[in-house]
Point group: C2
Chain length 207, copies 2
Amino acid sequence: MIPFPAINRLCALYRLLCDLQESGVERISSADLGKKLGVGAHNIRKDIAFLGVSSSSASGYDIKGLKQLISEKFEFNTEKKACIVGLGRLGTAIMERKDLCGGEFHIIAGFDSNINRLETISSSISLYPAYSITEVVRRLRIELAIIAVPACVAQDVADKLIDGGIKGILNFAPVIVKLDNKEIFIKNMDISGELRVLSAQIKNSIR
Amino acid sequence: MIPFPAINRLCALYRLLCDLQESGVERISSADLGKKLGVGAHNIRKDIAFLGVSSSSASGYDIKGLKQLISEKFEFNTEKKACIVGLGRLGTAIMERKDLCGGEFHIIAGFDSNINRLETISSSISLYPAYSITEVVRRLRIELAIIAVPACVAQDVADKLIDGGIKGILNFAPVIVKLDNKEIFIKNMDISGELRVLSAQIKNSIR
DNA sequence: TATTGCCTGTGAAATAATTCACAAAAATAT
DNA sequence: ATATTTTTGTGAATTATTTCACAGGCAATA
């Protein structure tokens, strides 16, 4: 079981490796990786050790191979089905992001409680009313959800998603969603909340 | 110097206290706070201890007083000036969020490299071309920035913001921004990246 | 005003994560 | 072929964070 901080860094590393590969780099040392990610080289090596391999070399890591390794460990190759709940400004903006359309995540459903809105949005993604969240998530076996609804309905939406069998949630609503089930993962992306954390860090750092 | 995990939790606690206060609650125990935030009661108490007070009671914390305490420690009362760089779909959606307009953060500038776009957006917020980021940030003494530009220009934007004297950055671009200055704080809010972390956590948890 | 039951504050213990240090292996240079 | 440099992998040490345990204070009750 890989500790969470390591998972986080390995995901960042994975993207970096993709970028490097696109720029034609083939090998790179832990020191250089560390520099690019803003962490120590030791840390990079420890994280890679969690993947459970042992193939030492004196010319750094083979980028293709390392990518493959991470990808296998976390199954990044298989496409994941995702949905968005809340098709306001933020929700639709996220829905149309390029980096979400082309990649390993496939947004296959959008939900909103406002039926009129569903009719006015033109999108290639199937849209459904909010009351059908549980049913659609279950039927289409959707694993991941992005919540972009007002704070007051976020918990209700989360409960419906969980009933449908969702595995992970990205929550943009400015509220802490409660989960009893330890098997479901949530990441809060509360914008004003994060600004507040930044502001607190700034104040905490001076003096 | 308060450790980062504690700052994070104290910020979440602060919002919870605001919500509780609005619903008319006046006192609450560490146990109940913990339950609502999904952390242990010990943890709550330890975090509060970092604020440097000592006023024990047998009926929990006074919500108003505790809010005040956190607020003073991190100066949540003074209004912070912020800006948004990148006025595409995501940037404008964030700019118009209600929870950002009314609260302690005041978005006073928007930037985009596309001059035509600046003219078509109707907003009460002053808009500027991207080449003036450094100058405007410095002149208006803007502390916080939200980056919502494509990955390829994010580093360049960050450098300009830092030159202008920015203190904290919320980065929505799917790329790790490098900072040499330890006095500047950054929080990455990369949507596809976070989906990938969730997906990795899910795979890591099974078996 | 005693007594009882909560609840906080906090030093100590336990756990988790990071950093270090160095042996061993591979590549490169001589 | 040998020496030198580079770079990884990993157990150990360090540091950070969380959890525990309980003393001591406050409030409520009778």
